[in-house]
């Protein structure tokens, strides 16, 4: 109700009813007294996009979460004295215990079935913030160590998307015709082998490890991106402003990089954001199947797999940290990508 009143008061302006013309009001205006074609300033595209992005609270939160996880992945393992591969069998399967937070039932070091091992073993000055695993390794350190691997993989995913996927799609789309049909055929064949199969086979041929996972991603990870950039290229290269540049005599490189790319880079970045969770998931999946990073190295996938097979039903706390970090990471990247997409293409969100 109030709002409507506001509007009404705002619109109660001068009309012919409440205005009495003064002398001279009926003189002609001189030419310079009005401005024909007023231009109203508005922000440029990127600033606009940023403003829209920061209006989206979820996306901003996701960005913050990602930043925190990145920081923890860098500094987390240094924050206590345990090393990620430090085995201490006398302190196996200790529940989480954090100094100062012991009043919280989650972090007091006790478990339903086994009681408080810290008290039982008399190691009252020992603290495993996230608990320890079946070999007595510190889960806090291992979790952040594993997160590092996931983040490194996501970096590579971005690089693969940008370098291989984008250029493949752009070239295929720009030149069209025979070049395109050959390149698309090749892509189709690669794409019709399930990623799962490719990755699995590769892992069997090569030695399991980070390098192999990256190679596997390289073979299949670029396809989605190349499809999108190809489609975008097809759409844009017939646009009139590109034709204009062509008639002005612009070369292919100029057309691709100066005319077309700035117009699609937003969508491509968004898509890259979507491919990060995919890459992280692939790693986690491979580790879970037993093809991932070999022990004692840790990755989120191998931590989850370990915790699941060794102690899921008995010590469920062991699986939680990597699981939560993985979930948060995936969720945040997805929300971030969504937010970016909406900011870049406001049509989807509607006015």
């Amino acid at each position: 109700m109030k709002k409507k009143k506001d509007i009404k008061s705002a619109t109660s302006e001068l009309t012919y009813k409440n205005y009495t013309p003064k002398a001279g009001d009926f003189d002609f205006l001189k030419n310079n007294e009005t401005e024909v074609d007023k231009n109203y300033s508005s922000q440029n595209y990127w600033k606009d996009t940023l403003t829209r992005f920061f209006k989206n609270k979820m996306a901003v939160i996701a960005l913050v979460v990602i930043l925190i996880i990145v920081l923890l992945a860098i500094f987390g393992p240094m924050m206590n004295s345990y090393a990620y591969d430090e085995v201490n069998s006398s302190e196996a399967n200790f529940a989480p215990r954090i100094p100062g937070l012991e009043w919280l039932p989650m972090f007091d070091g006790s478990e339903d079935v086994f009681g408080n091992k810290y008290e039982l073993t008399g190691k009252l000055d020992v603290y495993y913030w996230f608990g320890s695993d079946h070999l007595g390794r510190d889960i806090w350190t291992r979790t952040w160590q594993g997160t590092r691997i996931s983040l490194i993989i996501s970096l590579f995913a971005v690089a693969i998307d940008m370098v291989i996927g984008m250029s493949y799609g752009l070239i295929s789309g720009f030149f069209g015709g025979k070049v395109d049909s050959i390149m698309s055929r090749f892509e189709e064949i690669i794409n019709s082998i399930p990623t799962l199969v490719i990755v699995t086979l590769l892992m069997m041929v090569l030695k399991p490890g980070l390098g192999t996972i990256i190679v596997a991603l390289m073979i299949t990870g670029w396809i989605g991106m190349s499809r999108i950039s190809r489609a975008q290229m097809f759409k844009l290269k017939e646009q009139e402003f590109v034709l204009v540049s062509r008639t002005l005599g612009a070369g292919n490189m100029r057309l691709i990089f100066k005319d077309i790319l700035p117009n699609i880079i937003g969508q491509l970045i968004t898509n890259t954001m979507f491919s990060i969770p995919n890459a992280i998931f692939t790693e986690a999946f491979l580790s879970f199947v037993g093809l991932g990073i070999p022990a004692p190295e840790a990755s989120l996938g191998s931590l989850i797999s370990d915790a699941y097979s060794k102690s899921f039903l008995t010590h469920p706390y062991q699986i939680l940290p990597p699981l939560i970090v993985l979930g948060l990471l995936m969720l945040s990247f997805n929300i971030l990508a969504d937010g970016l997409r909406d900011a870049l293409d406001p049509r989807l969100k509607q006015v």
């Binding site: 231009n39 300033s41 595209y45 008639t247 005599g249 005319d259």
Partner: protein, 437 residues
Amino acid sequence: MLKNETAPLLEVQNLKEFFKINHNDKVKAVHGVSFKIYPGETYGLVGESGSGKSTIGRSIIRLYDITSGNVYFDGIRISAGTRWNEKEIKFTKIRTNKKVKELTSEMNKEIKEVKTEHANDKELSNKYIEEIKAKYKPQIEEAKKYCKEVVDREKGNIRSAKYDNKHFEEAYTKKLVTEIDEKYKPIFAEAKTEAKQKKAKEAYSKEVEKAKKTKLMPQMQMIFQDPMASLNPRKKVEDIVAEGLDIHHMYSSLTERRDIVLKWLKKVGLSVEQANRYPHQFSGGQRQRVGITRALVMNPKLIIADECISALDVSIQAQVVNLMKDIQEETGVAYLFIAHDLSMVKYISDRIGVLHLGYLVETGTTEEIFNNPIHPYTKSLLSAIPTPNPEVEKTKVPLFYDYATSNIDYRKGSEHLISGTHYVLGTDEEIKKWQKK
């Protein structure tokens, strides 16, 4: 408006443009269209959707490779299609092969006859066979020779067409240099003293240098239909306008670049501060002005305006048309004005060509087309345009024309001169019939 004495700026000869959709289907967009545009004039190309008018514009500016025909710009052949030459080669070969086969089979038949007739006398039969062979050989040779001649000729044409398609800029430079040579011959001859000679030489080499830098294609520019789609949304107006300058390195410093841009922006009625804005901050009419400026900074001799006003509001259309006229008066640029709206075309064009289904059905000066339309399609087009005169409009009965049921076959027609420069496509009987009406 007859400018027959001067050389045409643009000459389109028998332009054909077919597009492949897939292996079986071809869309024939343009069927042998020819016209000329003289310096400083406006040629209006009118037609409805699907008439191929935009295809013609884009083919001329080399956005598409043409299927057949020639396009000359400033006397230089800038594109040439080779499909007809290829066809000629293919069919000549087929014809020759057929003929050779016939001849050989005839010869063999005769030889066989001789062989059976003179089976006993081998010597005699051999002699006859030799004779027969001698009789047929020259014929076969001749047919083959003819075929080779045709193939060689056509191959030569194809080669030269392909060469021209790639090297027209060189040809243009050559042309400019010869012109300068011609110009300086008398000067050199007159310059008696050494100092004068030297001076002339300096001037000469300067001009040659400049000519070598001058390119042909930038002198043909295009304005597109959609004022929003034809401006890169991520670029500032200044950079959009200067794109051509950037590509051809037509300035020595950034201030010069800016000066050129601002000079032209002012000329089309945009302010200096607007140069730093992005396209989406402009209204439709202003955007089209930016599009025009972009073409103008290249100092073109010909601007192809492809439906450049049809996306604009009525009052803005008139603004843009007036602006284009002013610019023509000032710079002497020629326009190829492509539109579907005959009424606007009338205002701006000196001559008009009416396109229908890829055929140029009628062409002539604006007066000729409007005062004496001959072709039924032109007539229907003219009668369909609504005018802002209610009393007339309400009683007017538009003439309808349907190609499918009209019994007219454009393929059979040929160009007929009606008067002056007024040509109509049709057969003799058709033209007579139409003129009677």
